[in-house]
Symmetry: C2
Subunit: 117 residues, 2 copies
DNA sequence: TAAATTCATCGCAATACTACGATAAAGCCA
DNA sequence: TGGCTTTATCGTAGTATTGCGATGAATTTA
């Protein structure tokens, strides 16, 4: 029987490295097609796009706002109030950090072949 | 009022492209530090590692098995039964597909600067 | 000031995820 | 065969995620 504080349903982040947790958090933020679509749209636009993301996406305004919040929470995007509307764009610095971390993960050679195991 | 079939709490995958859904699914699989740790361990080993992943990770055997199942479900790893134990390793083909998809996402230039919006 | 626009947040409903003990299934070894 | 090892699956508990209508806050416009 486990007598330490039981926190069910919660990721045990304490037991992993900061890098592992950070990469996982970034991946998690990318882990929804709507958020992928948002990022792709922000990348495609030369200038920063505001809330017309809502009309681009097949989701209600409240839902889009929530996805934007999550992307903002991990730092992949940032938003600036511009009058009545809000201008969202990729956060270049964190975006490049994310790119580097994924790059590093995928840079290792895969030794496992078809007959490996 | 929305009278179409209401499926609450479920991602609306139908409304996104196959690529967006695939990339999101791969990212989601990477979205947990334990699964990052598993993949890093499998990448580090020259030969395929079996269930001693359990002793490497700070999680119960059932939990590790569940994470392995998820990684297997998106195709990032594969397992082969070897006597009593199971040998897991990176699925080279799907791993490279994943790498290419993330690479493509991050390859777009970010035009947004500090004073962008 | 009053109405309209834009967006965030709240609250709810339903599903998904995380974790683990218990148990089952499959193979090994004495 | 009987026990042992290894791993998958089941069941359960708790938290997180997804989605959306309703509402609120901030700003613009009439």
């Amino acid at each position: 029987m486990n007598l330490e504080t039981r926190t069910m349903g919660v990721t045990k982040t304490q037991h992993f490295t900061g890098e592992q947790n950070r990469l996982a958090a970034l991946a998690k933020a990318l882990g929804h097609p709507a958020r992928i679509a948002i990022l792709q749209h922000l990348l495609k636009q030369q200038t920063c796009i505001c809330g017309d993301l809502v009309s681009e996406l097949p989701l209600a305004q409240a839902t889009v706002s929530q996805h934007l919040k999550e992307l903002k929470a991990v730092g992949l995007i940032k938003g600036t109030v511009e009058g009545t509307s809000v201008c969202y764009c990729i956060d270049k610095q964190n975006w490049e950090e994310a790119r580097d971390m994924f790059l590093q993960l995928f840079s290792s050679p895969v030794s496992c072949q078809d007959n490996c195991c």
